[in-house]
Symmetry: C2
Subunit: 443 residues, 2 copies
C-alpha cells in the first residue's frame, strides 16, 4: 500500500475478527480490534461464552493456511477420520468422511484456536487489541466508531463488523437503510456435556472420529480432545415432553439418557450434574443484506450470516469470509469495489449454506441410522470410488473442498440427474437385451 497507513477497526475479537486482523495487517493496515469481553488468553473459558469444540474442514484450513497458521492449529487438534454412529441398541457403525487420505476433519477447541489467533494477530506491530470495550455507536458515513470504558470515538478508514450473530455493528450499518433481515430460531437448543477420558487418559471410545447419537427427539454429537476426553453437544427441544425444560431432576435425566443414549450413559459419569448446571444455547439462522456500506463498513462471520451447526460449517464459513474478503481487497485497488465484490461473491453461498445446515438437522436427527440413509451414503462412497472425478458426494464438496456452497449444491443436483438418466438408459438397454436374447432363444 502506498500513501499514509490506513486505519482499520475490527469490532469483535472472536475467530473471524482475529483472523481478519491478521489479514488486514498483512495488507498494510494499522488494525485496532475492540471486543466487549475480556482477553480470552487470561480470562479462562467462561469469558468467551462458548467452549464448544469445532470441526475444522477444508475451507477453514485454506484460510488458516493462507494466514500461515494451519500447522500450529493442526498440532492442537485431533484428526477425525469419520463418523461413529451409535444406534439405540448400543451397537455402532463407522462411516469414513471421505475416500481419500486428506478427506478428514480436525477437532479443535474453540478457545485454543481463539487464543492462538489473538496471539498471532497481536504479535503484529500494527495490530492492537482492546478488550472490555463495547461498541456503542458507529457512523457509517463518517467512518467512526464509539466504544465504551472509557468512552471514545475512533476514526477508521475501514470498519469490519465481526461481532457475531446479534451484531451491534450490523445494526448500525443497516440502521435506516432498506435492509433485508430474517432470523429464525430452531425450537431446539443445545448444551455441552463431557465424556471424560478413562483411567490413564485412555479414551473411552474411538478417539479419531465424530461420535453421533441420532434421534427424533434428542441428538448428540461428540468431538474428541487431545487429552482423551470428548466434548458432547446435546441437542433437543427447549420445551415439550422430551426437552431441556422437562429434565429438571436427576431421576428425569437418568430416565431420559437410558432411553435415548443407553451406551452414552455409562460414558458420562457427570451427565446429571452437567445437565443441571450448564446453560442451554439457542440455535438461530440469520440471513441479511447489505453486508457493507460504500468503502467503509463490512461484515464477516456470524454478523453476516448465522447458520445452524448441523453441517459443522459455521466457523469454516466465517474463516472463508476472511479469505475471500482479503482476496477481494487484493484484487480491487478501489475498496468500495472490493467490498461489493466480496458481498457478491459470498452472500449467495452462505444463504445456501443456511439451507444445507437446516436440511442436515433432519438428516442427523433420524436418517443417519436408517437403512435407506446408510445405503445411500454407501452408494455415494462407492460411486465416488468408481468415478472419482465425476461423482463427488455433497458432504465431500462441502467439507473437503472449497467449491462455493451454491456451486456444490448445483453440482450434486447435476450428478443425481445424470445418474437417474444413466439408470433409465441402462434399464432400457438391459430390458431390450433380455428381450432380444429371449427372441433369439425362441427362434
Amino acid at each position: 500500500m502506498t500513501g499514509p497507513q490506513e486505519h482499520a477497526v475490527v469490532v469483535g475479537a472472536g475467530l473471524a475478527g482475529s483472523l481478519t486482523a491478521v489479514f488486514l495487517a498483512r495488507r498494510g493496515y494499522r488494525v485496532s480490534v475492540y471486543e466487549r469481553r475480556p482477553d480470552p488468553r487470561t480470562a479462562g473459558t467462561a469469558a468467551t461464552g462458548r467452549s464448544i469444540n469445532l470441526g475444522l474442514s477444508a475451507r477453514g484450513m485454506a484460510a488458516l493456511d493462507e494466514a500461515g497458521l494451519l500447522d500450529a492449529v493442526l498440532a492442537r487438534g485431533v484428526p477425525m477420520r469419520g463418523r461413529v454412529v451409535h444406534r439405540p441398541d448400543g451397537t455402532t457403525r463407522f462411516q469414513p468422511y471421505g475416500v481419500r487420505e486428506h478427506e478428514i476433519l480436525h477437532s479443535v477447541l474453540r478457545d485454543d484456536l481463539l487464543r492462538l489467533l489473538v496471539d498471532t494477530a497481536s504479535a503484529h506491530p500494527d495490530v492492537s487489541f482492546h478488550f472490555g470495550r463495547t461498541l456503542t455507536g458507529l457512523d457509517r458515513d463518517k467512518g467512526t466508531v464509539e466504544v465504551a470504558d472509557p468512552a471514545e470515538t475512533v476514526e477508521a478508514d475501514l470498519i469490519v463488523g465481526a461481532d457475531g450473530v446479534f451484531s451491534a455493528a450490523r445494526r448500525h450499518l443497516q440502521h435506516g437503510l432498506r435492509a433485508d433481515y430474517a432470523q429464525e430460531f430452531l425450537p431446539w437448543g443445545y448444551t455441552e456435556l463431557t465424556i471424560p477420558a478413562g483411567p490413564g487418559g485412555v479414551p473411552r471410545v474411538r478417539l479419531e472420529a465424530l461420535h453421533v447419537w441420532p434421534g427424533e427427539d434428542a441428538l448428540m454429537v461428540a468431538h474428541p480432545n487431545r487429552d482423551g476426553s470428548l466434548t458432547c453437544s446435546l441437542f433437543m427441544a427447549h420445551e415439550g415432553p422430551v426437552s431441556f425444560a422437562a429434565l429438571r431432576d436427576r431421576a428425569a435425566i437418568h430416565a431420559f439418557a437410558d432411553a435415548a443414549f443407553p451406551d452414552a450413559r455409562e460414558l458420562m459419569p457427570d451427565l446429571a450434574d452437567e445437565l443441571l448446571a450448564h446453560p442451554v444455547g439457542r440455535l438461530v439462522t440469520v440471513r441479511t443484506a447489505p453486508w457493507r456500506h460504500e468503502d467503509r463498513v463490512v461484515l464477516v462471520g456470524d454478523a453476516a450470516h448465522a447458520v445452524y451447526p448441523f453441517f459443522g460449517q459455521g466457523m469454516n464459513a466465517a474463516f472463508e469470509d476472511c479469505l475471500v474478503l482479503d482476496a477481494c481487497l487484493g484484487r480491487h485497488p478501489d475498496r468500495g469495489t472490493a467490498l461489493a465484490a466480496y458481498e457478491a461473491a459470498r452472500r449467495p453461498h452462505t444463504d445456501v449454506l443456511a439451507d444445507l445446515s437446516a436440511a442436515n438437522f433432519t438428516e442427523l436427527r433420524a436418517r443417519v441410522h436408517r437403512p435407506g440413509y446408510v445405503l445411500a451414503a454407501a452408494a455415494d462412497r462407492a460411486l465416488s470410488r468408481l468415478l472419482p472425478h465425476r461423482w463427488v458426494p455433497l458432504y465431500t464438496l462441502v467439507a473437503h473442498t472449497t467449491t462455493p456452497y451454491a456451486d456444490a449444491l448445483a453440482r450434486v443436483r447435476r450428478q443425481r440427474r445424470a445418474l437417474a438418466a444413466a439408470v433409465t438408459v441402462g434399464t432400457a438397454v438391459a430390458v431390450l437385451a433380455a428381450r432380444l436374447s429371449l427372441r433369439g432363444r425362441a427362434c
Copy 2:
C-alpha cells in the same frame, strides 16, 4: 366482565389501535391509548405521516360494522365499482370488481377514517387518548409500559401493540425471546400525487373506480375522493435508470410522464411540483412470531404483519385482526387462551396475505393490460357468473368475502385443479365423439 375493571394500554392511535380501543371498551376495559404523534383531529394531515387513501373492502367493513361505524365511514367514502386500466396508447378498459351488486370497494381518506375512529373511541367514558407520548419501555412480565413527556410508568392488565411496522412494543415483547422475524424491502418506493377535480368540481376521469396505470418500470394507482379529485400513488424503483432518484428536475419528470403515463400527464398539472416536494415512502413485508406474551401483551395490525399494498389489504387485514381479537376475547374467559387463539387464528392467514400481496405486484406491474391477463380475468368473471357458488375468483374471495386468506388461496387452487380436470375430460369426450361420428360416416 365481573370483578374490578381491568386496564388495557394500547400503544399507537392509528387505525388498528383506535379500533381496538373501541372494542376493548365495549368488553368492559378501561383503555388508555398512548401515541407518539399529535392528535390527528387538530394537527392536520402532516401529523399522521400518511395521507394516502385506502380501499375499504369486505373484511374492513365487517370490523367497522361490528363496531357500529360502517354507515358513518361509507358516508365519507366514494364507492369504487371496478378498475379502470389505462393503456400506454391512452385508451382505457373498465374491469368490474365483481359480478354482484355488493362486490365493490370504498375509497376512504386515511385521515378522515382515523379522525372518526379516534372521535368514536374517545367518546367512550372509559377510553382516554394520550398524544405526543412515546413508548420508551415495556415489561412483558410485570405488565407495565413506560412512556415519555412526561416520563411515567403505567400498569396494565393487557397491553396491545398497535404501533405499526417498526413497532417498539413488538421489540420489547420479543426482546430476548426466540422470536422469528423477517423484513424484506421492495426495491420500489411510492409517492403521492394528485389529479385535481376539473372546473366546477367535475371529476376529470370516471370517479367511481380505481384507476390503474400498469407498467414494468413504473406503476400508478388513483383512488377517488368525494371532492372530485383523485389521489394517486406512483410506484417505481428507488434507484436506477427509471427511478425516483433519476427524476431530479422538471425536464426529466415530464419526459418520464410522457413516456410512462401519456394520458395522466394532462390530468396532473402539479405533477412536477409534487414529485419534487413529496417524500418517497418505502415498502416492506414483515413476518414475525410470537405476536403475544402470556395473557398480557398482544400485537395487531402492521406491528404483527406488514404487507405490500398491491392487494389493497393492509388496512382491511388490520381491522380484521381487531375483530378476531375481540371475538377470541369474547369466546375464551381466560385471556392467555384468548390471545393464543387469536395468534393461531390470524398468523397463518396474514403470512399468506404477504405472499398474495407480493404476487399482485407482478400482476399490477405488467399483466393487467396484457391480452392473456384480460382473457383470464374475463374467463374468471364468466365462470363466476356460470357457476356462482362453485367458482369464485381469488380477488373476489380476498376483497369481497371474509374467507380467511389461506383458505381463499386453497379454494382457488382447488377450483383451478377441478377446471383443469374438467377441461381434460371434456376434451377427451369431444375427441371421442368426433371419432365416433367420423366412424359413423365412414360406415
